[in-house]
Amino acid sequence: MSGATETAEIPITVDFSGGLEMLFDNQRRHSVSLPAVDANGKPATIAFLIDYLCKNLMQDPRAELFVLDNHIRPGILVLVNDADWELEGEEAYEIQPRDNILFVSTLHGG
């Protein structure tokens, strides 16, 4: 879809839920071709993905609703293939082809 060269990009889906979709063109699911390595040649991690999403996919100027000080802001859960990223190594998890990464804002209303 994005003219990726075969080895340099990782095809993944990125989902937003709990209101975060509003920051990303009101779309709940995005297909993303993530560069396989970061600027230093290291494998793409979730930390790198978060930075990439801010720079390339976010439509909304309110980046602080998604990241604070280069980390995901408190109150957002990150799920790797539907499991809490704490089970997968958090920011250091290395993204695999066809991974689904879900960002969901925790809710408090009732």
Binding site: S17, R28, D69, I76, D82, D84, H108, G109, G110
Partner: protein, 316 residues
């Protein structure tokens, strides 16, 4: 009246027969419900349906705590209230409705706020807590007290077109016992609240009635399962039967519901997310936790400050 093997009255039998014949319920499950005490914290969009279905099912004692009064703008989603009861305390309005639905349970009204000072006294009188509140301050307080007085917690939340639900601290395990075998608390799953700037209430952001309704009914469903099947009984007390906690209690499922106004129910309307087990470094239940009931009563931690602090600035 406390016996788990007494006969059911004719009245009880008439009323509960349709759920007693469901495989897995039976008279045993029904008596467990009748002998159970559930605290519903919040009598709003979640608390109304949650209370309706546990009252209908015959939970014996139902406490309801809420400081608010019924307003017209509540009624599109708070189906246990009524136009004629606008201005009445929500607790009294909801109990009026529940008594009409089922007069057999004992209903206990708490028409005031849950506070760090009163939380432990109230919560310790119950077997299970349903968090149906609308703010993080109360959510963290409820979970902390549930850890300390060892109560299972069925928590849900909803806003706009999204809902969330999970079962926590079930079966309850003493603070400081850390091992992946134990069920997490609210803080294990949701370590920090969002900064206040990113939070909005249902009043400000809006809420679709069926979204919060689904989550409230689901809370009742989880509470009924836990109490009727005794899933909340500590494993150690059940030596002899093989009642080890289910994996989806130790690593609970966070159910998320997304209501899309532009399309029908679809493949992603519901997602089941796998959360981790108890966290070794959890502020509330972890191995070096300093959380105590006495501390909570005297303002430590300070829940309001915890939930209103801007996120710390970290230079990397």
């Amino acid at each position: 009246a406390n016996g788990c093997s007494r006969r059911l009255t004719d009245d009880e039998f008439d009323r509960y027969s349709r759920q007693m014949i469901v495989p897995g319920m039976g008279k045993e499950g029904q008596l467990r419900l009748i002998n159970s005490r559930v605290l519903v914290i919040g009598a709003g969009g979640l608390g109304c349906p949650a209370a309706q279905y546990i009252a209908g099912a015959g939970v014996g004692t139902i406490g309801i705590i809420d400081n608010d009064v019924v307003e017209a703008s509540n009624l599109h989603r708070q189906v246990g209230h009524a136009t004629s009861r606008i201005g009445m305390k929500k607790v009294d309005s909801l109990i009026t409705h529940l008594k009409e639905l089922n007069p057999l349970p004992t209903y206990v009204p708490y028409p005031f706020q849950l506070t760090p000072q009163n939380a432990a006294d109230i919560i310790s009188k119950y077997d299970l807590v349903m968090d149906c509140t609308d703010n993080p301050v109360t959510r963290y307080l409820i979970s902390d007290v549930c850890v300390l007085v060892r109560k299972p917690l069925v928590t849900a939340a909803a806003i706009q077109k999204s809902g969330q639900l999970t079962v926590l601290n079930c079966p309850p395990t003493p603070q400081g016992l850390v091992d992946s075998e134990y069920a997490p608390c609210y803080r294990c799953c949701f370590r920090k609240p969002p900064p206040p700037s990113s939070m909005v209430s249902c009043g400000e952001a809006g809420i679709m009635g069926p979204v919060v309704g689904m989550m409230g009914v689901a809370q009742a469903g989880e509470a009924i399962k836990i109490l009727a099947s005794a899933l909340h009984m500590p494993v150690a007390k059940n030596v002899g039967d093989n009642n080890t906690p289910e994996k989806n209690l130790k690593q609970p499922t966070l159910l998320i519901y997304t209501f899309d106004l532009e399309s029908a129910v679809g493949p992603y309307s519901f997602r089941a997310l796998k959360m981790g087990g108890r966290k070794r470094n959890c502020f509330a239940c972890g191995e070096n936790s300093t959380l105590t009931l006495e501390g909570i009563k005297t303002g430590n931690p300070d829940y309001v400050q915890f939930c209103s602090a801007p996120a710390p600035v970290v230079s990397l």
